[in-house]
Subunit: 340 residues, 2 copies
DNA sequence: AAAAAAACTGCAAACGTTTGCAGTAGTTGA
DNA sequence: TCAACTACTGCAAACGTTTGCAGTTTTTTT
């Protein structure tokens, strides 16, 4: 590793001047600067970020903590963050919690030692507590809210998205619409559930508890829940299903297939969150699409501007719009099933 | 940020002793050690990794450079790496090149400044050159080879995997088998192509150039190539397709659908690399599955043991086996198409 | 032409650790 | 009882930068 001192020696200046030539070019004479730059080039000098960060007490880096890198939604968010960060010459430390609060705690501790300037986090149910580990580190919450008072957040309009999905179903004539809702200790699930209720109410339909089942946000949870809902007697079985996240939607589709239900003739399905799988499965899935990439990109930009312009007085709460994409998995309820 | 000095003060020892109490416990008296540990706990002390790394001239961290975080294959590899690293208390710096050698160069430079102890990289066609930026940083190549002499690598048996796929097709009776091969400046594509040739030869079938088309490794490239192959006159059209990576396989399936070809009646398809999409599409896709997670995990473990035990004299070259998973997208050639 | 200002450069300290070395106290052996 | 260990602890330097301050040279102003 070639150090600044060697560059300085080659350029016949002091390390101080060499440092300035590289990071505050206008503070040094043109000729000197060029000598230093040339020397640096010749030696292939790359500044030691550790030393620099240590001295400056901050590290031109950000932490990003997501809950599941294997979920394309999160992977895309991460890419948005990284692209925005790279644009501003920041490095991103990525950690993965697998929805496990303990792993989240470890991640935060590890992160701390690297003195990031800010944090982007997809909260778990214990984040509010864990965030104390990095008190007064500028933080933006992504996708969900931890409930930390005064927290900044970038999310989508879950209520509106869910409502548009369910209104689409009611408009098609469905009257028994089930929902697989997710864990109610995660705000997205609560909000989507809320949208579901609102849409039912708007259509003058009663809310029926027995048609709403929780799932664990994974494929298997969706499959189990869908199985339960769809195994009800024909005249009590929902004719349509609204599923609260992408993974569970896969499970729901599989359950429908296992039960020999045709989509959309016997069952309409709307999922939350688009994916290649949803686009290319047959029939193509009607979904509420989220701007995943933008969530990450915008959140990162917001965080960086927060860092530049000092703390905001008001908590920043950004809600991005969702888009209902109607494909082939939704249709009017079939004649086969009796209507109440 | 609470520093070691404050801990030391609270425990009434020197910073040196505090340091030792935390990182070489057996060098300090039991009673002292406990006092220090208690003080650290009380203050919520977390060591400043930057300072530590600076002093130790190494940073208990690894670099991971992949080409596309949105590709589930790479995301899974990354997860394998991260899990292994976390197990050994290493931090991973993740960078994304989007297959762009220039971004790769930037990533390597950024990485350099963080003094990682090792590097795991999925090479691009320019990696061999770019790696000079981090000369003598212990490095393992993943999935592909850069051609750097003496490089360590962890890959799958691409030749064998491709051969098993194509042998499956020949065994079913296919005689006109097309291949969408990928970029020939990437070793995986070359090797899979090689396996394809070997399987044809083993079945006594001629290699026909016109049935082999390159693709750009993305969905669109696969679609275009498949379109071209499948638009040939019926008696020259391949009855089966072997596609060289997961993204292109999606494109190929879409192309078949656009052309109204039924899978597997009119066309058998085998893809390389499994995915949820492949499992759940209908008909479920026959694929050559790779142990993605293991690639990452094993590569990381190997790198870490390399770090512990000094440089290996021999380059390490690990090849993991693939598995042919036969599902519903392959069948004997249909009666509709004439046989040569 | 002298004074004042501006432009540039170098010295040295600091960031928070770790670690070689030396010093002190307590213990063992003769 | 004294020497030689052993066990522990502290001092101070070092890692590679950045930056406040002061010193020197050059330029501008009067």
């Amino acid at each position: 590793m070639v150090s600044l001192e060697e560059v300085a020696k080659l350029a016949q200046v002091s390390p101080a001047t060499a440092s300035r030539a590289l990071s505050r070019p206008d503070m040094v004479a043109k000729e000197t600067r060029e000598r230093v730059l040339e020397a640096a080039r010749q030696l292939g000098y790359q500044p030691n970020q550790l030393a620099r960060s240590l001295r400056q007490r901050s590290s031109r880096s950000l932490g990003l903590i997501i809950t599941d890198i294997l979920n394309p939604f999160h992977a895309t968010v991460a890419k948005g963050v990284q692209d925005a960060a790279e644009k501003h010459d920041y490095t991103v430390f990525l950690f993965n919690t697998d929805e496990d609060p303990e792993k989240e705690r470890r991640a935060l501790n590890a992160l701390r030692g690297h003195l990031p300037q800010g944090l982007l986090i997809v909260p778990t149910p214990r984040t509010r507590e864990n965030l104390k580990l990095v008190a007064n580190l500028p933080t933006i919450e992504l996708d969900r809210q931890s409930g930390t008072p005064g927290a900044h957040s970038v999310m989508v309009d879950n209520v509106g998205g869910a409502r548009s999905a369910v209104e689409h179903l009611t408009a098609l004539g469905h009257r028994r619409i089930g929902m697989i809702v997710g864990r109610l200790d995660i705000t997205t699930a609560v909000e989507r559930h809320q949208g579901y209720r609102e849409a039912l109410a708007a259509a003058g339909l009663p809310y029926r508890e027995e048609l709403v089942l929780p799932g664990n946000h994974r494929e298997e949870g969706g499959r189990v829940a869908a199985h339960a809902l769809l195994s009800r007697p024909p005249d009590e079985r929902p004719t349509a299903l609204f599923v609260g996240n992408n993974e569970m939607t896969v499970g729901a589709v599989l359950a429908a297939r296992e039960l020999g239900l045709r989509i959309p003739e016997d069952l309409s399905i709307v999922g939350f969150d688009d994916s290649r799988w949803a686009r290319t499965m047959q029939p193509a899935l009607t979904v509420v699409a989220q701007p995943e990439y933008d969530i990450g990109f915008l959140a990162c930009e917001t965080l960086l501007s927060l860092l530049r312009h000092g703390k905001a007085v008001q908590p920043i709460r950004i809600r991005l719009a969702t888009t209902l994409i109607v494909r082939d998995s939704t249709a009017p309820p079939g004649h086969a099933s009796s209507q109440p």
